[in-house]
């Protein structure tokens, strides 16, 4: 693929950069190309830090950056939390807090089986942590020494250690030459601060984001920091505006949604539709069933998996799941992904290998241990077990007891010192209830997913649901009047939803809906339909 001019400009740019990228503008492509240019110039012991929002996104970025067989050297591809854990907290914590007495346990506060009092204390700590408060710091030290790393506090660990360990800063500066952070519009203050501190240390800093796709405000993230970078003298701002993904009419609709004076691209065809169905949400689903074939033919859709039904919340997803006759699946994270446990992560990747057909055994192993550190005997043991599992599952079997030894063996070789009990339990659960998450990845099935989950993905056809007043944008009654809970966030969510569509976007509403109390009430179309004269841009 040859870069466009605006893409080429960014790929060739040097110095500290902030790129404002619209949906479908080829952001991952540009990043991967840039990384490909950077890697050969690095020494063997050097690398880049490439931070993506999800594991999936970072795997994709890594795959695309290394696709031409480049050496990744000592580069880090992963989420910011992974980076904190691996390169700052767990390692340099030793120097500030002392050696931990137990194996590290990385867990969410609410999954740690703590007493209420302790839980609320920790939550309080994560919200109002004070770096100048010695008691807070001592608490961190205590937790570290007992091996308890709470994910909700990982940023505090990392920030404190970064600020107080000269050895840590020196290490990061020596090893890493670039810090690249994607989805910068969903950035919290700690991530922004560390990003800037790394830039000050001398790393080349690159931030990529889209102001209009900031959808994680509810977790304390905002696009403030992206904006700050755009104002910062040290950074050069570039834009990636051309949307290569969506049909021009979809682009027009999405841009006009955000700004009343957006430039309109010329187009003959309107591909954004509003369908208002009589009845409740189930009727919408029936309607979709009826029209699916027509849509497929009209727009030359190759497979059902190119069709997505986007919802705001899981309740709606379940309704769709219940009533949709056409083959479909709900996209969700498996429990193994939720676990935040090294061994679970390993099992998750083994299952992905088994069903994905996208990676080899070697690639999967190398996610954990480089081949040269394994003896020949170990390598052949691993291969044997991987192949056994591959055959077993692909024949349709799924008895946990028949495969648990194989999983255990693989874990013993790749991570000998980790406790596997928790991961084995989760695996058992997953094999009982969630195997289709893996097994039907590439199936011919309509994908049902939340707007949040859809970020970064694309489909030929999108059916956008939950576009009701009170739902999107969410509202509540307060002091006798109506108040938006998070207007901007919801607007961005809607924007994300629309821009997932390549060929057509169908906005669906119905005359009735079920409210939060379970009662059937009248459903009114969302305010978003009437913003900025959008009616003219849809049919």
């Amino acid at each position: 693929m040859i870069p466009t001019q605006e893409q080429e400009r960014i790929i060739n740019a040097s110095g500290d950069i902030v790129t404002v990228a619209r949906p479908g503008s080829g952001k991952t492509f540009v990043l991967a190309e840039k990384i490909k240019r950077i890697l050969p110039g690095l020494k063997d012991y050097e690398g880049i830090i490439a931070i993506s929002f999800t594991n999936k996104a970072s795997n994709e970025l890594k795959d695309r950056s290394l696709s031409s067989g480049l050496e990744k050297k000592e580069s880090f591809f992963g989420t910011i939390h992974k980076f904190y854990i691996a390169e700052i907290a767990l390692s340099f914590g030793k120097q500030l807090f002392g050696l931990p007495e137990n194996e590290f346990e990385i867990v969410n506060i609410d999954q740690a089986g703590l007493e209420e009092e302790r839980k609320s204390y920790l939550y309080e700590l994560s919200k109002s942590f004070d770096y100048s408060n010695q008691t807070h710091i001592n608490d961190l030290g205590e937790m570290y020494r007992t091996g308890k790393i709470y994910l909700d506090l990982i940023e505090k660990f990392a920030t404190y250690i970064f600020d107080n360990s000269l050895a840590c800063r020196r290490y990061l500066k020596t090893k890493y030459k670039y810090i690249i952070i994607d989805e910068f519009q969903d950035c919290g203050i700690e991530q922004y601060t560390i990003f800037m501190k790394l830039q000050e240390l001398g790393l080349n800093a690159i931030a990529v984001g889209d102001l209009d796709q900031s959808i994680y405000g509810f977790t304390g993230k905002s696009s403030t920091y992206l904006q700050a970078l755009m104002q910062d003298e040290r950074f050069t701002t570039y834009s990636l505006t051309r949307n290569h993904r969506c049909h021009p009419s979809i682009i027009n609709y999405s841009l006009r949604l955000m700004s009343p004076n957006s430039e309109l691209l010329p187009t003959d065809d309107i591909r954004v539709y509003h369908r208002h169905i009589t009845g409740d949400v189930a009727r919408i689903v029936n309607w979709i069933d009826t029209h699916v074939q027509g849509v497929i033919q009209n727009f030359e859709v190759a497979s059902l998996s190119e069709i997505a039904i986007l919802v705001k919340n899981h309740k709606t997803a379940n309704i769709v799941d219940m009533h949709l006759a056409t083959p479909h699946k709900i996209i969700e994270q498996s429990l193994l992904e939720f676990d935040n446990n090294e061994v679970s992560f390993l099992f998750d990747n083994i299952l992905k290998f088994i069903f994905d057909n996208l990676h080899t055994i070697t690639e999967t192993i190398e996610l954990f241990v480089s081949l040269e550190r394994l003896t020949l005997k170990e390598q052949s043991e691993l291969e044997k077990n991987f192949i056994f599992l591959y055959d077993y599952f692909n024949r349709g079997n799924k008895e946990f007891n028949e495969v648990k030894d194989n999983f255990e063996l693989i874990a013993m070789i790749l991570m000998p010192s980790k406790d596997i009990e928790k991961a084995m339990n989760t695996l058992e659960n997953v094999m009982l209830t969630q195997l289709e998450i893996y097994s039907s990845r590439n199936d011919n099935k309509i994908q049902i997913l939340t707007l949040h989950k859809s970020k970064g993905l694309e489909f030929d056809i999108v059916f956008h649901l939950d576009l009701f007043e009170w739902i999107l944008p969410a509202k509540k009654y307060a002091n006798g009047s109506q108040e938006y809970l998070s207007y901007r966030q919801d607007l961005n969510l809607h924007y994300v939803g629309i821009t997932r569509a390549k060929k057509a976007c169908i906005l669906c509403t119905s005359t009735q809906r079920t409210n939060y109390q379970g009662r059937i009430i009248n459903g009114k179309p969302s305010e978003f339909f009437n913003v900025n004269n959008l009616a003219r841009l849809r049919s």
């Binding site: 000592e74 030793k94 050696l99 050895a167």
Partner: protein, 575 residues
């Protein structure tokens, strides 16, 4: 990155010893005191050529003279700033750029453990010496085999230059090699034509024919280095050429030099690789003439860009090192230790300047079991001759006699104390005038007392303190109090091996049992005259006198003048 120190507990000669290192360090000490074992302790943790299986030490490696249950070897590194080491070791490096390594093995299960960390309290166990790829030790033993080393290095040397040819050179070489092919074929033809070469294999070939039909057509022949240029090039050998004439490579000394030159060349040209190397060389001086020894020492120090540690028996090489960079091993009880824990910053600037003026004779004293410090050349000549006359074998007892002429006793004693070498001294009983006053002092005794207080932590009784005050300033002639005080102090100093002459060597001799021989030699009976003549060209006169009258010195057996020698002998025999 450099090795700052090593602490060895319970291993071979070492019960519990710490050694500090400098950028260039020389390890010295008697045979069997543990020099090689000290090196081995470093090598266990740092030498790639020691396989993992050798890390399993056995019973005999534990310190034998006590209930030793554990061997612990800890190395501290400082100035760890190299990029690739920082990137590889991550949090194992402290804020202050330090790293610690530890090897530990217990006698109960003989299972060894390895640790690494940014401080002694942050040591974490590791599975293997994975760090060796980033930093390691290169070791050369005293029993170097040049021939096998050369055989290995030959290919390496040839390949290196082969790779770095320019395109032009490659072309030229190809032409040359082609020409060689032709020459070789011609050469082979000529050689095999020589009748006795040709016929040598006839008999064998006849027998082969009888053995197997298949063998007809195949013949054994002698020829020059195979058929092709490649095998010829593989068989070339190194030799020295003088004025373009080939010789076999010389004697052991030359072999040693070649070896070390090859060795340093090999490791110096890999400086672009991401690896830090520390160099350990045992006895670099082997088979070399003194000047060449010094030259070698300087060569190693300047060529090898990284830390160098040598063990040596050579005073010539030691004289190149300032005392801050010398580890002297000594024994106490049954265990070996490093004097002053090895290298240190203890010896200040003045002493560094002084140390560099030490000539080789002086540094030989470092190897002694005891040093007898005297004023000047005459004393050395005299005492060496006296020792012979009294049957005190200085070499066998390992006693050196050193003069402090011009430099002063304190400087030498400081160095000797630093290296933990026992010493005794004899100084003149000088009486100097105090400037701008009409008073005098017994400077010699004062000198002795100062040394007693400073180096022997001597304390005086209250009485002696008064004595000391008395001799510090008095008017002439000295009154009996002063005499008495002087005597008392001389007695105290004598008991501590600080010998004060009656006056000075010449005067003492004139007033001793050998006076008549002196009178004979100088052909005068007048004491003053003899003295005057003796002091005129002291050394030369002493030398000549001693040549003639060596055996007569036996009469001095019971004299005070012989006491230092007798005392030295006793000290050695009681060590």
């Amino acid at each position: 990155m450099k090795i700052e120190s090593i602490k060895i507990k319970g291993f071979r000669n070492f019960k519990d010893a710490k050694f500090n290192f400098n950028t260039h360090t020389a390890i010295m000490g008697f045979n069997d005191i543990g020099k090689t074992n000290l090196m081995y302790a470093l090598r266990l943790l740092l030498d790639k050529s020691i396989p993992e299986s050798s890390l399993e030490l056995n019973e005999s490696d534990f310190f034998a003279f006590e209930d030793t249950n554990e061997i612990k070897i800890t190395i501290k590194f400082s100035e760890v700033v190299e990029d690739f080491v920082v990137a590889k070791l991550r949090e194992k490096i402290s804020d202050g750029n330090e790293v610690f390594l530890r090897y530990q093995i217990s006698r109960t299960d003989l299972e060894y453990k390895l640790f690494i960390g940014s401080s002694k309290s942050a040591l974490e166990e590791i599975d293997s010496r994975y760090y060796l790829r980033a930093f390691n030790l290169k070791y050369v033993t005293s029993t170097r085999n040049l021939n096998s080393f050369i055989n290995k290095e030959k290919k390496h040397l040839l390949e290196k230059t082969k790779e770095s040819r320019s395109d032009e050179e490659k072309e030229l070489d190809t032409t040359r090699i082609d020409e060689l092919e032709t020459t070789l074929t011609g050469l082979n033809a000529s050689v095999t034509d020589i009748s006795y070469v040709k016929n040598a294999t006839n008999k064998i070939n006849d027998e082969l024919d009888k053995l197997s039909y298949k063998n007809t057509g195949q013949k054994l022949t002698f020829n020059v280095a195979g058929d092709d240029v490649d095998s010829l090039l593989n068989k070339i050998d190194l030799s020295m050429s003088t004025d373009e004439k080939l010789l076999a490579i010389g004697g052991d000394g030359k072999l040693n030099q070649i070896f070390l030159a090859l060795w340093t060349n090999k490791y110096n040209t890999v400086s672009d690789l991401n690896e830090v190397s520390f160099y350990c060389i045992e006895e670099p001086e082997a088979h070399l003439h003194p000047h060449q020894q010094r030259r070698l020492s300087e060569y190693l120090a300047s060529t090898l860009s990284n830390q160098v540690i040598i063990t040596t028996h050579s005073p010539h090489i030691i004289s190149e090192f300032n005392p801050n960079s010398i580890i002297k091993l000594y024994q106490e009880g049954k265990a070996s230790y490093g004097a002053n824990k090895g290298c240190s910053e203890d010896l200040g600037d003045n002493l560094l300047k002084f140390a560099h003026r030490l000539d080789v004779i002086s540094t030989e004293a470092f190897y002694s079991s005891l040093v007898f410090l005297v004023e000047g050349q005459s004393e050395i000549l005299f005492y060496k001759t006296l020792a012979k006359a009294l049957n005190i074998d200085l070499d066998r007892l390992n006693i050196s006699i050193l003069m402090v002429d011009g430099v002063g006793f304190k400087s030498y004693i400081t160095v000797l104390e630093h290296l933990k070498i026992p010493w005794i001294m004899r100084t003149d009983n000088d009486m100097f005038k105090i400037p701008r006053r009409d008073e005098y002092r017994y400077a010699g005794i004062q000198r002795g007392v100062d040394i007693y207080k400073e180096f022997l932590s001597g304390t005086f009784s209250a009485e002696n303190e008064i004595d000391y005050e008395n001799i510090k300033n008095f008017a002439l002639p000295p009154n009996p109090d002063v005499w008495e005080s002087a005597e008392k102090l001389i007695q105290v100093l004598d008991e501590n091996n600080i010998f004060i002459a009656q006056k000075d060597l010449e005067w003492d001799l004139v007033n001793s049992a050998i006076k008549d021989k002196l009178a004979e030699y100088y052909e005068t009976d007048d004491d003053d005259e003899i003295l005057r003549l003796m002091q005129n060209r002291k050394g030369e006169n002493m030398f000549k006198f001693l040549c003639e009258y060596a055996e007569s010195l036996t009469v001095l057996d019971g004299d005070n003048i012989s006491r230092p020698l007798k005392q030295a002998k006793e000290i050695i025999e009681h060590l």
